[in-house]
């Protein structure tokens, strides 16, 4: 049975325990989560990456939180590791180099909340248009968006804006 105390004993990485509906969870410091994640994968067998979720906690300090959902397929254990960051410095280390499954999931968290994953191989927007300047899952984003923030094609004639290389398509 895995416990985060084992991880602490093996590496000395500090954590703050969190119970997530009966599953073990731990909040790590931003500087140490990558080391902890690597150990969890290589030494404790959490090789299966399930998901990564970003949250807007709507608080002044440590506004954003990222939760990684991990699973050990041999012992059937599931754990959650978390990391938080401030709004002004919304950077957390990417775990995509450790679990490649985190690649698109972290892109989605970046797309929706603007959390920047340092070391991510391809941090682009996932769903929204590239020119979109806002992060819609933040709590201060209005439901109907910012009017005019995404351009629509014109109603009159073939719109040159959307032609390929200026050719008449």
């Amino acid at each position: 049975m895995f416990s985060f105390e084992d991880l602490k004993a093996a590496s000395g990485i500090e954590f703050q325990p969190i119970d997530i509906n009966g599953d073990a969870g731990a909040l790590f410091d931003r500087a140490q989560i990558a080391d902890a994640a690597r150990l969890l994968k290589e030494k404790f067998g959490f090789v299966q990456f399930m998901d990564v979720v970003g949250h807007d906690r709507n608080e002044r300090k440590m506004r954003f939180e990222v939760t990684y959902n991990l699973r050990n397929p041999t012992s059937f254990e599931r754990i959650f590791i978390k990391v938080r960051c401030d709004e002004r410095d919304s950077h957390v280390p990417s775990l995509a180099p450790i679990w490649s499954g985190a690649n698109w999931a972290e892109r989605e968290a970046f797309d929706m909340l603007g959390i920047v994953f340092d070391g991510h191989p391809d941090l682009r927007r996932m769903y929204l248009p590239d020119e979109f300047a806002y992060y819609p899952l933040r709590k201060d984003f209005p439901l109907m968006g910012i009017p005019g923030s995404i351009p629509l094609p014109s109603t009159e004639g073939a719109d040159a804006q959307f032609d390929i290389k200026g050719q008449n398509v």
């Binding site: 819609p136 109907m144 910012i146 629509l152 094609p153 719109d159 398509v169």
Partner: protein
Amino acid sequence: MDLSDAVQSEGFVTSKLDDIVNWARKNALWPMPLGISCCAIEMMAFAGPRYDVSRFGSEVFRFSPRQSDLLIVAGTVTYKMAKVVRKIYDQMPDPKWVIAMGACTSSGGMYRTYAVVQGINQFLPVDVYIAGCPPRPDSVLKALMMIQDEVAHDKPFKRGTIIDMTDDKPLIQIATPNIITPAHV
């Protein structure tokens, strides 16, 4: 004396050019099926044997905008998709007609969010809107018949002007908003 009697006895009929062109157009409206979400399932039923749109000459679903006359936008149009929808519309040759099928397409429907265009009339000229979520195939047939009615009362040769298409040989082109223009040739 009806039409077939006239053809059989006289061998010809007289009519107006407008009417002949409109008759041909309205009975061969080839749809461009732009099935973006669940309305597309009802659109398939509309084309299938039970509702049988081939009774109206529209059974030829062209998956190329270059060969179609009628754009059926069937589904939720997001802002990202709006550019694609508009591009497909622009690629269709004139004359062309647009059906906005379903609540999402017509007004955003239940998707009252930042990501969904609240009605495709914001970037497309729409001829017929269909209510429903999704509409029944009967409603799509009704919309098609309304388009046919619109086509039948069109006056394709009334607003025409003559444009020189080549250097030596002037071609007659009718530059109504509905008909071909040099930019599309």
